[in-house]
Symmetry: C3
Subunit: 498 residues, 3 copies
């Protein structure tokens, strides 16, 4: 008994004193020689990165161990992982030295060819399925979807360009690459280009040469990488701990989904789901795989509904993990300028509407149907989402919620149409210079109109989808949709009388 | 000693390994046969609900155990609880099958008459005092207070209606029930009506019949229920864990108290109280009853000041628990259009001012005094609140704070009056069509005026009450109150010259 | 073995059952007789304060113990602490009875001369270095910097004054002291004046006399205190626990740095740094001294970059602690009306630009260079900050980030210049009454212009500095900077035609 006592005590004390919990340091996996060489200097050169990495699972498990997990718990999707990687931690060298020839950013550093920019191709060595799914996601194409759409680029320039006033007249300097990189492309992704090499005195480690990178730093979802790939897994899987609880936290998504154009996180914040998360998540198991509603958590985060593998307490799958977020989304609430069924291809810049614009609808709302998923596919995706809702809600509840969203889509589109008809009238009367004569975004009243669809209609629809009432009423919601129509009407009245 | 050691060890290990803490699963209470029958299917049909419920106190304690708690710690207010409920967990059947005849939503389901909508009458079996107090609260009457007030309904329609533009003219389609349900009535409460029965293939459980409910889903505070009651305890006591730490968390209140019309949560967020909560609450005992300032928590949440039973470390009561939140509130800061003493009756739609409107003040600020509490009752309520402040603040601090609030009420009302005088002038000059000729909310300049009292004056007053400076200055505060007056003046200048 | 077992068990159980963790009650230090006398009544009179204080380090360690900590961990900077304080807890009497003669707010209370307002001079008994550094900080002079700058005071009056409308004309009542105290001076600091004595029935303790304080309550950073000092340590070191994790939490800074004029906290909220904090900080050691990036925390809070002593896991110092926040800041992003190098003196009201205004730049952007730090000092400070970044980021990343900020400063200043040129044109044409003829802030269009530099330019620059893209684009960012220029242009067009 004393012996048992002693053993158990050791365990109890270990648990108490070392606080082994989610994300905390477990015994480390063996290191490759190459990673050990990195750490020999980087323990001192970038101590924060090293300590952060040590907290993570990739420092604690070898790929061989990861592959031995039962299928449902497994977090790697590769069937074959190169033998050289199998028995060591996934450390500095494992991610930053692979495929040196495809990486234009590779450079001689110590005894290795190192590349600063880790890309989806690097992650895909162990996570090929996730990479493949993510590539079918509009987010992976976010850069091209913006840059190759002339209308979007006009809006971007009218946002980021630098206005100048002289003699009462306004002119416009184009946006600088720096401004683009930290505004639109912060999320959509820059292009990382190797501009040359530069030598630098690193202090303790002497003079060293590094590649000079354009478009850096960036971790936008559609980043164009020096190995020719697009995307950045670290947008959500934050370096260098790569904790799954981070990717599952709503905060992560908020980085790109909080502004007035896409206030998804703001809606979540005032929703019942969000309120439960904020109040209770310190008691949850944010890192369990699979993830069990009610047991591991009591309200969904963004990842729950859009990405995660969910199972009931008996292990029955509720939803398969997907990194193609549109798998569970049937309609595109982000109206540019109206909402519409999800596009068939993630490369939305290839859409052409009846008026020849790269938009899924025309200015009066006609959808470019052949580029959009059909009713059958919409139903399939809606059903996938409904099944997740039904883990915690009876079907009557879910049906009622879906019906409201459908009505809100109609109402908000009608409210955009009303403002757009006034805009067309303004252009017709020559009170502002519209398409054909100038940018549709460069005059004051055009910006008032733009906010109707870019801010208020989107806010109202997202509020409906996730039950965040405020955002659909007085906080950039229906109040503002109605106010804008009167604002435009009032503007016309003063000017057209003359 | 080894024996003690072993026993203690088991305890220590149990505590460590099973992480028994707030809201975590303790040993379950025995289940009624009826609840067991529910669980037999619902473990699979709605696993999230079941697992969520198991985390809560109602799954872990029988009413008999709850009644044995010392008075101060007790969370049930009933003196007699039906014998059949006493020895079992408060499970599915206990809440969803009682009073089947009064529930129009009851339907045959398995061997029971089940009603989906649990109402205050159901909760009152164990919590009669809370129900009774809450019924004296304006929140319990939030639906009627909105729907039976013609001016409010006009504002609601001007918010949720769908505008249409043709030939440069604006017309208006009335708001759909779906839009109302997810905007105003999301918080104020829908009416849940049984529209009929519908048959549904439930998959694993075959074809079954369910009631089809109108106004569903909803958990608004003033919901009209199928058993004729009003209100919804689950607005704050979130299903199905019903954790007291959830109701006490400020997040819960934010669901309906964050928009620009009532930015209470936004004020709390930047207040010192809020900042302490966010930084430190992971170390607090959010579930202790009674709740002890300084010991269980070091800054108040919404519940602390407005609802909770508070005691000092010696057990002396600082404030009695109340579910009539107005017990501790003397003035109504939500100005429609001016602030005023709290109404005597929670049914505010019954108020009539000197101009015959269902408002507590006239347009020029005259209070409908006979519908409002008198100075003596105001003093009683203010003193109740001050006593809570004084748990942590000396009286000089509290007096200073109260004096500032009083001044801010005067200033903000004067700023609303200035804008209202301009609005009256606009109507007088015929620059907009006011009362008698049209809605006071349907034109652009009327909406500018509306924001003065609905957004900025409210924001400034709430900021004063809870020391959240930003919201009283540049973030919808005094800056905006002053700006709106100039905006209206500027608007008149351009138009009245002609 | 059983004996060891038993001892260890006691320890394990103590740890588990009493949850000794950050901020939780450790064994208390001995109390002075004077503090014991305070507690005898205040346990009952203000139980919340007492319980809160007991949670803190000052209740648990004597100054003698604190001085024995190794230099790097030490939190007191005094070399000599008066002998009478050395062996007792830092309790009520230690802070509230020192230097009674210098404290105009001292009053006879029990057997002691007590002062309600604890000031930097009181804290400096143990923390002289922190006080001295903080005094070199513009924040310590925030009150005078506002009150002695005529332009700022005009803006304050145009914000807090109470407008009145009669006969279509607007007049203005000056702001009340109460309004000033809870708006600008809430953060900048009031003046605490002893207005007299007042007698009060304290209930259990009978009739007592207290000083009546003007400007109270307040804990603004530049508060003018009854002992002649300025500042308030409790702005950030929140009473009465004074937990270092509170001062290090971003919430604390949000109290004064969240509004649209200085949306620093809002930027942090959507930044990657912020997202990591919110998702992961429950696993962090928020109270370690020194603080080790990657190990104790995995993303910076405000304090990390601006205040804290940072060391790597080997104990090498990354950054020395500073309470002069400008030590690590080279440029002033808060543009009034343009950004500029940090002022040499923290007393910014002493700056005079070429046009004789107390502003660091003229209206057309010319800096008052002799009052601003030179390029060399800017480089020193930037390097200090960069060293902190480099704990977790390679230099290429940091260089790229710094270059973008530099460009954004230029762009945003140019966008302010464009709006300002339009404003000058408006004044020239007599469409509004500008400097010389009236306040530059009292008309509608002047307020539109003010928002350009006070809200949107600041937001864009802070977003750039901390990578919070939204705030630099659509959420009071570049979109709004461009929109305002068009708004002003549109406003001129309608009016100048007549």
């Amino acid at each position: 008994m004393p012996l048992f006592c002693n053993l158990a005590l050791t365990l109890a004390l270990a648990l108490v004193l070392f606080g082994v919990g989610p994300g905390q340091a477990a015994p480390a996996a063996p290191l490759s020689e190459a990673t050990q060489a990195c750490l020999d200097c980087h323990n001192e050169a970038t101590p924060g990165i090293v300590a952060d990495w040590k907290r993570g699972r990739m420092a604690q498990k070898t790929p061989a161990q990861a592959l031995k997990e039962p299928q449902a718990q497994r977090r790697v999707s590769a069937k074959d992982i190169p033998a050289g990687l199998m028995q060591v931690a996934v450390g500095c060298a494992e991610c930053h030295t692979g495929n040196p020839k495809s990486h234009a950013d590779s450079f001689d550093h110590g005894d290795h060819q190192v590349h600063p920019v880790v890309t989806p191709a690097d992650c895909a060595v162990c996570h090929p399925q996730e990479r493949e799914q993510y590539g079918r996601n509009p987010m992976a194409h976010a850069r091209a979807n913006l840059l190759k759409n002339p209308l979007y680029m006009d809006l971007a320039q009218q946002t980021n360009g630098v206005p100048q006033a002289a003699g009462g007249k306004i002119s416009m300097q184009p946006a600088s690459p720096a401004a683009e990189a930290e505004s639109c492309l912060y999320c959509h992704g820059t292009e990382i280009k190797v501009l040359g090499q530069q030598s630098r005195d690193t202090g303790a480690f002497g003079e060293m040469s590094f590649p000079k990178l354009g478009g850096w730093p960036n971790r936008g979802v559609g980043r164009k990488n020096p190995d020719g790939t697009v995307g950045s897994c670290t947008s959500c899987h934050t370096r260098h701990q790569f904790a799954i609880e981070m990717a599952r936290s709503p905060y992560t998504c908020s980085e790109c989904h909080k502004g007035p154009d896409v206030p998804v996180y703001k809606v979540y914040q005032v929703s019942k789901h969000g309120n439960i998360f904020y109040a209770m998540h310190k008691q949850w198991a944010m890192d369990k795989v699979p993830w069990t509603p009610g047991k591991d958590f009591t309200a969904p985060t963004c990842a729950t509904c859009h990405v995660s593998l969910l199972a009931d307490p008996g292990g029955n799958v509720i939803a398969q993990r997907t990194h193609q977020m549109t798998d569970r989304i049937w309609v595109r609430l982000l109206g540019l300028i109206y909402s519409h069924p999800q596009p068939v291809s993630p490369e939305t810049w290839k859409i052409t509407n009846a008026d020849g614009q790269s938009l899924a609808t025309t200015l009066d709302g006609k959808p470019a149907s052949k580029f959009l998923i059909d009713a059958k596919e919409q139903a399939v995706r809606q059903k996938r989402m409904a099944k997740i809702c039904q883990a915690c809600h009876a079907q009557g509840w879910v049906d009622g919620q879906m019906a409201r969203l459908e009505q809100t889509i109609k109402d908000s589109d009608a409210m955009v149409l009303a403002a757009t008809r006034l805009m067309l009238e303004i252009w017709r009367q020559g009170l502002a210079q519209g398409p054909g004569k100038g940018s549709p975004f460069d005059e004051y009243i055009e910006r008032v109109w733009t906010q109707q669809w870019l801010f208020y209609a989107n806010s109202t629809r997202f509020a409906s989808a996730m039950m965040g009432a405020d955002l659909g009423v007085f906080d950039n919601g229906r109040w503002d949709l109605n106010k804008t129509v009167r604002h435009m009407h009032d503007w016309i009245k003063v000017r057209s009388k003359k």
